[in-house]
Symmetry: C2
Subunit: 246 residues, 2 copies
């Protein structure tokens, strides 16, 4: 059976979780605890040496990178539910949108999210324990991010990321004002991957996402949240606890 | 007939150029002149509002983003030459590598390339003309990059990008030490997209790419450079001139 290693249903972990639910594929879910750096522990680095979730295990194969996992599921499991447009141009549009999430949208939201939510976690442990944990992180840029979570992100970086969040929200709103879905006239991985980052921004970033400024973005999020697969996923997959003890 | 708008055969422009040549697809090539900011001129922004090359025009459709264009050509033109592994796992591996180019490898090489080569171009024009041209750039981050090219990139940014180039080269070398091609046991878009950035680094970055440190990376580049489609492309598509007058 497929095995998914992930955090709770948010951000990059939400992408393959929702894809699996939409396609009705059975899988064994393994939720890691980010608060104890579980994804940097040796047992998990034996699965993904980069120490990143999500990771999908399919027989003797390990597939990494959330967007790549989603396309893999479409390639390997041609269920009746299709999450990729059938035509080449629709697929290209879809990939422009998933690529944009991975290269722009997710980063600005992630940095603000870390400074608001991961900082507490990083500060809650002793300096010695923190250093031990940082040492176990395979990607240098992730080490830097954890240190910033503990020591504070530079204000000019936070300001710049907030600017980019504004640009991102505007881009989505403008596009969704004219189209029901992001790409190819159908609900696709473009919507799933953007929804993974956007959902909840009406609460976390109400200055950007609200009924006055982004009615179409709200309409699109409500439509996705109303889907049976989405409701089933949120009902069944608990959010991760951000506690520092196992 | 397919129309490609690009710079010369290097970096992101090389990806679709080589894909078209490898697949033997006929196309009309339109080379823009970056030295006069031709890609930010209104006629081109009518084709790609983001003012970026490459862009592919196929009938009434415009496809943007170099990696997306490559996958589009595979989806839409199933020639005998295949540049994507047939199996889902091979495709996933290929996408991990093309994604890595777009999110990491291309950026560090690009920043150093800009500081070495585009700077002269940005400094060669008057302050007034420069401001006019910057105003025409639709993407704010690209405006910043052009300003840095003129005023100088911060040294700590250049140092960090050089560090990342070292990481990138090591990653390629380690992988190519064990595999002939990057993904799926075949020459694929993973190789084309990485080659687009890596080729020539033995001259531009000999401290990283040389016979002692990266024999397998050199072997791989030589193999690709020896391919008939690559030789034909370099023979037929001229490098762009970096002159400031048309």
């Amino acid at each position: 059976m497929l095995k998914l290693y992930s955090f709770g249903p948010a951000a990059n972990s939400l992408k393959p979780l929702l894809t699996l639910y939409e396609k009705g594929l059975e899988f064994e879910g393994n939720r890691l605890n980010p608060a104890i750096f579980e994804h940097h522990q040796d047992w998990f680095k034996a699965i993904n040496p980069r120490g990143q979730v999500p990771a999908l295990v399919d027989g003797d194969k390990v597939i990494t990178e959330s967007t790549v996992i989603c396309e893999y599921l479409e390639d390997e499991y041609p269920t009746e539910v299709k999450l990729r447009p059938a035509d080449s141009y629709g697929r290209a549009e879809m990939r422009v949108w998933t690529k944009w999430v991975d290269e722009y949208f997710c980063w600005c939201v992630s940095t603000i999210g870390w400074s608001r939510m991961i900082s507490g976690m990083a500060k809650a442990i002793s300096a010695e324990e923190f250093e031990e944990r940082v040492k176990a992180i395979p990607i240098p840029e992730q080490q830097v991010k954890w240190r910033r979570a503990r020591d504070g992100f530079p204000q000019d970086m936070l300001d710049e990321e907030m600017r980019k969040i504004g640009v991102s929200v505007r881009r989505l709103e403008d596009h969704l004002a004219n189209q029901e879905w992001l790409a190819g006239d159908m609900y696709s991985l473009a919507d799933i991957c953007n929804f993974a980052i956007a959902n909840g921004m009406q609460f976390g970033f109400p200055e950007f996402v609200n009924a006055n400024d982004t009615p179409h973005l709200l309409r699109w999020m409500a439509q996705i949240n109303a889907r049976p697969a989405v409701q089933k996923m949120y009902a069944e997959v608990p959010m991760e606890r951000l506690e520092t003890k196992d």
